[in-house]
Symmetry: C2
Subunit: 548 residues, 2 copies
């Protein structure tokens, strides 16, 4: 029964757990480059010219886990060539197409600390001080939205029985958690009925006498809401998409009408979701009006501020989200405009007891009365990402965020002006936060389209839009492939202001990166104009159509 | 319209995005320590003696986001004292109570690279080469379980239309994803019925003529399954917990009887879940028998191998999971015994088209025909954690894992022998993988309990167990507080082998850390014996009871 001694190969293997990479090893050198000059590292390492995905895939074909271990340095070399070289330069100041931005430098060493500590936030036993830290982050975000008094946070922030919110891997899980809780609150235990959590949706609907549940949201609501309805057993068709006005904000009078129809059909409105920063145009629903309607309907009011929520950090612009403090729950992603790395979403609950509707326990953890965070989260084991949010809140501070948010919103206004003043570009949706959409439309075409609108010539306008689609897609794709700058694209209805329903492709820009300069924005337009003028299929047809 | 120039405070703020921490800054020094000597850093930094949670909370009381930015170095200093000092030393070789273990060194610099690249795996546009990499990881794990031929992976691994699995933040999301897909496959569109995803659970049950859905699983199933049933609208009561035999494996004949009863009640068994490594005792259900039953019942067969799945990497021991290759879906956590940092779960689907049941699209991303991973995941935005799994699979290799897994299983057998041979300890559940449970029972008490069993004296046995509970809890808590070593505890039925149903508290040990030595295991027992012998309430009563 004396234990066997380790063999030589076992000893060698244990070294990966005990001996760090040498300072001059490939991986250490890469790491030093990242630490000392992230932007430079990315600029030199991520190749500018795009390689087709099918070619990239050739480096990831092997489907068997290799038998023999690979040296770390060889692995690091391989990854530089196959992975890093062909990743996306998300933090480049000229990559203004997505919601991921540059990161503050200090999050890099902190991330390493977090990984090294390898805490698991599901329970205190595996996270200790990380649990109060996460509760504090949730408390700070709660205060940012609801600004309750000192006693409130004194009583609830670290209370075993409640939770001011749930930390999640991202906004989708946050939205699911909010609406899961809302469903369980609505179909709660009552008399002999033991509640939807115990007995399922069908018995819940039967008990309460509903034919179905519905969730009302703008047609611009995030696709995660459909996923939520599917997952929760409510069904995607019961996400009722309410039309928006020309400003891309939901039309509350239409929502009210739809709610009345649903009530007549014995379909209970479970929740209204307000969008605070639509993903496609960045507009904010009239939250106060939605709060009024939710209170009329006696239903849950959730605000999906996954992207726009960060703007609450600006005293100057937080009025744009007025009414959010009336929401029962709010989703905010810290990995968007709060400059935290990927994987940091949150849902915040107005009422600290609200999340009790999804509370669960287990024998070996999450014992009753414990302060374990895992008893009120959708996820189980989770990393200590809250630490990075905590760091950003403290190191950037309200004063720092005030500048960052204000600058980004004002940069978007500047870019909108730039587009408006350029004769060959058309601003499609004005920036309310730091997101806008536009497209390239040669002046001659703009004039011809204005005439078509004046004559209410829908067919001709459709023809223009369809040709513009081809041109916009071409420009967006070519610009991405050239690798200097990147805007994204989406499909919306650019003729809405003219009361026509024509869908078309537009460029979409998010100006969250603090390092994006006015000069870069000018260059983005200049590059697009050059690409567009070289296009040989849609552009000639557009110009011909404009002359007809 | 000329853009405003940046003010001095704005310039200062931008430095956090452009200027790295100086090499001699507090944070850089901390980081170097972590890089060069993680174990040493943790040993010196994490305080050994436990501080009560209420005291730790005092450092995390502030609920307002501070206005003024804090210097990074000051923040790092604060965090060393308030957070790191009071975190859990999860990688200590003598902390054998949880499933988080030591990490290989190379994951630290790679994590920093991952964070710096800040890719978002929801779509190719924000992840590029990370998407084929993640698909390769899923392919390798699929091959590990199902070992399909080359053509299979050639056809499916990088196919736009299918997915061999889904990468998740952890095993809970993996289990939810598997059963969500199973529910949607079962209640799929049929004639005029548009499927549960579109129309919800109630209409699905009505259409197919079921009164309810049920999921059959061992009473030892993970608590995430209850959460899943709640979330999916099936209801926790419809997770039918089937008793286990004395070896903690589910009793398949009892499961078959229950399934027949359910069928008679028009309740459709939606899925059978096999547990491959129960969280509490580490036992593996008879997977082949469960696969037979699932095929009799024509239902989905899911295996929750979140913890035990890593043992498939051992040629020597993978036979313990025989039958797993017949599962329709399998959950495996890489952040458990695959030595990847927290946040890396996976669900693998046998049939590549299976996940189409939860497929979703959106206008601006996840366009149809794209290879975007986000169209078949529960989560939306996700970090590039798959890279760390990829790194471990390549750098450790099958040969390396063979040694790591075999050693951990054999270390558990060694520890079981040690417990068996110690006169004052009782092995409660034998290790099948690297997990076992035991408790401290003085020899005299063991003899008296054996007599009580022989006499079938349930009352006396209950009394013994109840006193032992107090003693076990005391020892576990005191040992944790002393800070040298840590075992966890859970409640199971230690009298099962004697056909009595008495729940009692036991020590629970997971021997996944490659650095845990036989000497450490000897010390753990020695320390427990000392603590137990000092206990002054339950121990004297136990000894007195043994003499009665």
């Amino acid at each position: 029964m004396t234990p066997r001694r380790a063999t030589a190969s076992e000893e060698a293997l244990l070294r990966i757990f005990t001996v760090p990479e040498a300072p001059d090893s490939t991986l250490s050198v890469i790491e030093q480059n990242i630490s000392q000059n992230l932007m430079g590292f990315l600029q030199e390492s991520v190749v500018a010219v795009e390689k087709p995905l099918t070619e990239i895939e050739l480096d990831f074909q092997q489907h068997q886990i290799p038998a023999a271990p690979q040296f770390v340095s060889d692995y690091a070399d391989d990854m530089m060539q196959t992975l890093v070289a062909h990743s996306v330069h998300t933090s480049a100041p000229s990559f203004i197409g997505h919601m991921t931005s540059a990161l503050p430098y200090f999050v890099l060493p902190l991330s390493k600390m977090m990984v090294g500590l390898n805490q698991n936030l599901v329970k205190i036993e595996t996270s200790k001080a990380f649990t109060p830290l996460e509760r504090q982050v949730l408390g700070m975000m709660h205060h940012l939205i609801y600004a309750e008094n000192d006693d409130f946070y004194q009583n609830w922030m670290h209370s075993a029985n409640v939770s001011l919110g749930a930390f999640c891997s991202g906004g989708t899980v946050a939205n699911i958690t909010a609406l899961w809780t809302a469903r369980n609150q609505l179909l709660k235990a009552d008399g002999n009925y033991r509640g939807v959590a115990a007995q399922g949706v069908m018995k819940g609907l039967r008990h309460y006498g509903y034919d179905d549940l519905a969730i009302l949201v703008s047609e611009r609501g995030h696709y995660s809401l459909g996923k939520t309805a599917d997952l929760l057993g409510i069904g995607r068709e019961n996400i009722i998409q309410v039309p928006t006005a020309e400003d891309n904000k939901v039309d509350v009078s239409k929502m009210r009408k739809l709610a009345n129809q649903l009530a007549a059909d014995k379909i209970k409105v479970m929740a209204i979701v307000g969008v605070a920063g639509t993903t496609e145009t960045g507009n904010i629903d009239p939250l106060n009006e939605l709060a009024d309607l939710a209170s009329e309907l006696n239903c849950h009011f959730h605000v999906d501020a996954a992207w726009g929520g960060a703007s609450l950090l600006s005293e100057k612009y937080r009025h744009l989200l007025a009414g959010i403090e009336r929401a029962d729950s709010v989703t905010i992603d810290a990995h968007k405009q709060m400059y935290v790395p990927m994987g940091a979403g949150m849902v915040i609950f107005k009422d600290p007891t609200f999340a009790n509707a999804i509370k669960h326990h287990a024998e070996y953890i999450l014992r009753k009365g414990s302060k374990d965070l895992g008893s009120q989260t959708l996820e189980g084991s989770r990393p200590g990402m809250a630490m990075l949010v905590h760091a950003c809140l403290k190191v950037i501070g309200r004063d720092g965020y005030e500048i960052l948010i204000n600058n980004s919103l004002e940069k978007a206004r500047y870019f909108a002006d730039l587009i408006n003043q350029h004769q060959d570009f058309e601003l499609v949706s004005k920036p309310e936060l730091c997101l806008l959409t536009y497209r390239y439309v040669p002046q001659k075409v703009q004039i011809a389209m204005a005439n078509a609108r004046a004559n209410n010539d829908v067919d001709k306008l459709s023809e223009f839009n369809s040709l513009l689609d081809g041109l916009t897609k071409f420009v967006q794709k070519r610009q991405r492939e050239q690798g200097t700058s990147f805007v994204s694209r989406t499909r919306i209805n650019p003729e809405k202001a003219h009361l026509m329903d024509i869908k078309a492709v537009v460029f979409r820009v998010v100006l969250a990166n603090p390092l994006t300069t006015p000069e870069i924005l000018q260059q983005v337009l200049a590059e697009q104009k050059v690409i567009a003028s070289q296009e040989q299929r849609f552009l000639p047809n557009l110009l011909a159509l404009a002359e007809r």
